[in-house]
Amino acid sequence: MTTHAAAQPPPHSGCSPAGTLSIAISGSGGAGVMTVGELLLDAAARAGLYGRMGRTFGPQIRGGEAAALLRLSSTPIEGVGDAYDLLVALDWGNIDRFADEIPLSPDSQVLFDDKAGEVPPVVVASGANCRGLPLSETARAVRGGRPNLVVLGLLAGALDLPAALVREAVRARFGERSVETALAVLELGLATEPPLSRPLSPSRAAGVRWNVSGNQAAGLGALRGGIRFVAAYPITPATDLLEWLAEELPAADGDLVQAEDELAAVNMCIGASFGGVPSLTATSGPGLALMLEAIGLSVASETPIVVVDVMRGGPSTGIPTKSEQTDLDIAVNGLHGEAPHLVLAPLGVADCLFTTQWSVELAEALQAPAIVLSDQSLAQSRLIVDEPPTRSSPATRRCAESPGADYRRYAITDDGVSPMAIPGTPGGMYVADGLTHDVRGRPSSRSADHRAQLDKRRDKLTGFDFGAAWGEVDGDGAAAVITWGSSTAAVREAVDRLRAAGCAVRCIALRLISPLPIDALRGALAGVERAVVVEHNHSGQLHRLLRANADWPCPLTAWHRPGPLPLRPGELVAALSEALDARPNREETPA
């Protein structure tokens, strides 16, 4: 084995905080980097560790360069780290393309197949310690053997994972025909002296753990919330959420229809929901744009639907495979006319379950559309988490059980929610309408009817008691960070570090975006003197939304950065230290 001397001092403890380790595995299409990444995550989970895995690909539709991006940990984690402790290159492919995405430092180790040729300049320049290993040579000892399983064995050794659990993971994955070969190669890797040693101590927590992606979690939340009709038009990165539901719905006696386009999908949902069946569609920015007219109909006709928007880089077709929190504006303000509705954002991969389930419940209870702002980084990352608690709060729609001759579908009620007659119910017949209507649903252009229905639709949302789930608040002190959705992971990690460094920082993560929980957020900001709003986009969309809708007890500054690169805790530590220092009333964004 050869060692490339790095231009920088040799590695010591790695780049990650104690107890976590970031590993990237890269290679060309077909090299099997995703397989080894998934197996490692699985084995680590079996061994009692936590972790996450993301994927990145070059632009080729299939067969281009790819990398599995893992982070393993002794304790629960959610987000990505600052840099990679370890990069394993099965070949050098177009590794340049990943330079931004796989940050290396002089503390990083790079292992590569010694048949792969020269270490590329971009890797040399990082100062990482590079070492060639006879990966393909080792694999060749087994007929049909592939180097990726050598890597699995080596990494298992480096992490000190019990070999039996690694074998279990391999057995669970491969079919009969290939499992023996895979195991044989694995053994070779396990038998090799690991090129480094970074054992992580397993958690002693006893509960069940899940290996789950945000899209799976959202699908499960939809099912648990009561969704029984789904209309689907594929779009990255929402497709696998729809595919997951396609598999699970029939057993729950639900239906999925592949629609001809997003206009059809959203209108199918409205139709099914009019029939009393909770309905959902999922899409990404371009599809959401096409759905807006009908979402307005959902508002005006008070027919609940749920639309999951798995955000990707924008605008327009943008960067379909990368994450960005870029659709808050359209989700909140993208409807024509004045059309109050629900917008929520999951705070993490596993929280996609809770937030989607809650969104279904809220949509049903409030007879309004709910838009769920997930994003690619949540949707397509796999996370090892403690099994989330189940909640028994099924969606409930207020239905008119035995409506009489004076049934008024859009009656003005105390809480703005009017009992809805479901087709099939005798006596409840009404015509739902997107035209301005009176309490019976009959078209009206009278000023009083228009005003009454506008007020009602606003007040049923703003007057609703959303309880404690509007957001998550922790810590105290005179400085606060406000964030939402997928940014929460990096913000929390940064805040932890700031706290460890002695700064008291309050962390407020918003799950409910619309209606804005103004009072709750004001309460959470009590005593705060300066707050910074952190988000993963170019223009500070939540920051503008907060400013637009209320006065706050303290000045709000903005820090935001667009995709495609994920927010990392380290950059946030720097940004927050600066933004939260004592200078009052800063208003320009430092981004």
Binding site: D42, A45, A47, G48, L165, A206, G207, V208, R209, W210, N211, V212, Q216, G219, L220, L223, R228, F229, A231, A246, E248, L249, P250, A251, D255, L256, V257, A259, E260, L263, A264, A265, N267, M268, I270, G271, A272, F274, G275, G276, V277, S279, L297, I384, D386, E387, A421, P423, G424, T425, G427, G428, M429, Y430, V431, A432, D433, G434, L435, P443
Partner: protein
């Protein structure tokens, strides 16, 4: 309601916004008659429409209804009919709604074959927006300020498109013959799957010449169950032939069947720990 239902039981007390003499009144009558003939309780019927003069119809009847957005009547009716196969779903709207902005859904609803009746109330004009050319408008019609020298396009052929898209029940009727239309609607209601009836329905305000329809419609379609024959029949059709053109053996939409055995989706996510 155990007594016999009459056409009147399906009529609401809302006064139509339609112009006196509008062909859509005939369709309203036919529909109430058809439902009475079928003795469908109004609460088990859903009338779904788009936007246009014609799409105002649901408000003039007593069943459940949804007056949706322009051009999306078929997706809405599809969602409802798939989710609630126990209901009688009747979709309707104008030629602009169905063939212009909604043309894509028309083709795909024909293919999907979800159980419903679809009535296009075809006046070859956009009535609601005051008289522009629709897809079924003749090339040389110069009555719209938006296309003052004609449409410069051949008229859209709804029956051919329906057949080419795999529609299993294809008919054309005339609103001036509400009994004939009612009878056809009854047949469509009885047919399991997607049924399409183009109803010629004069707009007396923007196409007053259509008052002459009654002189030129002729009931000459001979129903066939062979698609190629039906298509051939259309190739030299004058657009004024009425009757049932095509009726295939029923093969309505069926979604994915429930699996024999299925384990809770949560189980697939479990890894390590606990066990």
């Amino acid at each position: 309601m155990s007594e016999t239902l009459t056409a009147r039981d399906y009529k609401s007390d809302v006064h139509p916004v339609w112009c006196p003499g509008c062909g859509d009144f005939g369709i309203l009558n036919a529909l109430t008659k058809a439902l009475a003939a079928r003795q469908q309780p109004p609460e088990r019927v859903a009338l779904i429409s788009g936007i246009g003069c014609s799409s105002r119809l649901p408000a003039y009847m007593t069943p459940y209804g949804f007056h949706g957005v322009h051009g999306r009547v078929l997706p809405m009716a599809t969602g409802l009919a798939v989710a609630r196969p126990d209901l009688t779903v009747i979709a309707m709207g104008g030629d602009g709604d169905g063939f212009s902005i909604g043309g894509n859904h028309f083709m795909h609803a024909c293919r999907r074959n979800v159980n419903m009746v679809y009535l296009v109330m075809d006046n070859a004009v956009y009535g609601m927006t005051k008289g522009q050319a629709s897809p079924t408008t003749q090339t040389d019609w110069t009555g719209s300020k938006l296309t003052p020298t004609g449409t410069h396009m051949p008229a859209f052929r709804p029956l051919e498109i329906a057949l080419a898209s795999g529609c299993a029940f294809v008919a054309r009727e005339f609103s001036g013959n509400p009994n004939g239309l009612a009878q056809r609607i009854v047949e469509a209601l009885d047919y399991p799957g997607f049924t399409f009836i183009q109803v010629l329905s004069p707009c007396i305000t923007y196409r007053p010449e259509q008052m002459g329809y009654k002189k030129i419609v002729h009931e000459d379609f001979e129903p066939t169950s062979i698609r190629t024959e039906a298509m051939a029949r259309l190739l030299d059709d004058d657009g004024m032939t009425t009757g049932l053109l095509f009726r295939a053996p029923p093969a309505p939409w069926q979604g994915d069947p429930a699996p024999e055995a299925h384990r809770a989706p949560e189980r697939a996510l479990v890894v390590g720990g606990g066990a």
